[in-house]
Symmetry: C2
Subunit: 285 residues, 2 copies
């Protein structure tokens, strides 16, 4: 039986715990999450344990990264289940702050990353990445970990975070972790819970389209016709809309015609009100 | 004879020095400056030495806080003299980074503080406080001091920095230090060097106007007529323009009619192309 993970809510308590570890010379990893944990998150905990002696998970549904009309209110919150999963995964501490502690009256500061925040999901969700960049900066400064682990599923988010960590001289190593998938290829996501059985049956087409397109690009195909074809296939498979399906530079996210340098194929597509994100690496030519 | 201050330019060297002190249990203070040091800066070093065991001064003329047409190019740079002054003041380390190290290719991150950055100097210098907030965040994360000291002369800047430190959970205590003045009341500033002898003779009128207005406010006077009168007096004394002369809440910088809570009287006025800033505390009614 695994030890139960301790839960702290106040930054002062969090810091006291981390300081105690530091004083023992232990390395600390942070896994920031919005809760509703699944195997993707638990793989981040496992990889955190490979890099560090102690792993802190944060669970915070950050209001500032949700736009008007998005799913902030109905985003799944289930702390008891999350704590049990974290305990089973060997996580050492759960930091679960309150919104009013993260953003007290008078809060006025925003961290923003130009360029990287602007296209793809940034175009669909204005302000989203400012919310992400600000809360991640806060979490990194609250915990001050040696390592911070993020899933590649939110690939643009990972690029934004890598950039801000470098730009602001945050002394943390950012580790991007591979996407964890269902047996049929669907990328794990807390939002998959929103899907009806019919939508769930359609959902794996997104990964199949990414995978097939990536293979065609690696064989010398050009992005524009291949991605246009993928969008058509997704509509035919039952997706209600494809927000984007694009080949981008793996680091700068600049658009690419061909994978002439490290590249990523990124997509967002909707089933009803649910947006699914996914992406795959593309072998450079 | 005082020991000569060591100079480091690379963040890695800076951090090695600070880590060495930390490992000995020594407290560290940072005094961020743009160089062209005067007695105001040296008073910050002295107050840093009162709070901490080791004092780091940074000298960096930050391009991102200068607007087009401002004095970035001609801002005085005299590192040898600065280093000598810092040595004499007992400063332990001078951090003097290059612009290309602070803002390498691809740099894209901005820290901004809404509200506090917007009026007063922020209205005259759009983007100025974003530049300040970003570079101060970087310096605080590069040095990771226990204390950071800033002069009250740049009072709005101090308010912006206090806010971002709180909002981003930076583990540093910000200490605002009293304005150092010439015998005739003129607040020390590196930009005073721009004044002609004639302008220099007019300059002390700014402090006299602030001081007289603060006294009238403390006796129950209303801000609007008193500050209007002060603006007239400054024009009559020889100032070419008064950018602002306002009573504000000491913390939020919200406009006030009377000093019903801790308040600050803030002014900016121009002599030719040179803008002088000054401010005084106002005794609350």
């Amino acid at each position: 039986m695994s030890r139960e993970v301790d839960i702290v809510r106040a930054v002062a308590d969090l810091r006291a715990r981390v300081r105690y570890w530091r004083d023992q010379g232990l390395a600390v990893a942070l896994v920031p999450t919005m809760g509703a944990l699944h195997q993707g998150h638990l793989s981040l905990i496992a990889q955190g344990l490979e890099h560090a002696d102690r792993v802190v998970a944060s669970v915070f549904v950050n209001p500032t990264q949700f736009g008007p009309g998005e799913d902030f209110e109905r985003y799944p919150r289930r702390e008891a289940e999350d704590a049990a999963l974290l305990s089973g995964a060997g996580c050492h501490l759960l930091f679960a702050p309150q919104v009013t502690d993260m953003y007290p009256a008078g809060f006025a500061t925003t961290v923003s990353v130009a360029g990287l925040s602007e296209g793809l999901c940034g175009a669909i969700r204005p302000g989203h990445f400012d919310g992400v960049a600000t809360v991640v900066t806060k979490l990194l400064l609250q915990v001050r970990p040696d390592f911070a682990l993020f899933g590649e599923k939110d690939y643009q988010q990972l690029a934004v975070i890598r950039r801000l960590v470098r730009d602001l001289d945050l002394a943390v190593e950012v580790i991007g972790c591979p996407i964890v998938r269902e047996a049929d290829g669907l990328a794990l996501s807390s939002r998959n819970a929103y899907l009806t059985p019919e939508q769930r049956a359609v959902a794996p087409a997104l990964f199949r389209a990414l995978d097939a397109t990536a293979q065609a690009l690696a064989q010398g195909g050009e992005a524009a016709p291949l991605t246009a074809r993928a969008v058509e296939d997704l509509r035919a498979a039952g997706f209600d809309a494809v927000d984007y399906f694009e080949l981008r530079d793996a680091e700068t996210l600049a658009p690419l015609d061909r994978p002439t340098r490290p590249a990523r194929l990124l997509a967002a597509a909707r089933l009803g009100a649910t947006r699914l994100l996914d992406n795959v690496a593309v072998t450079a030519l």
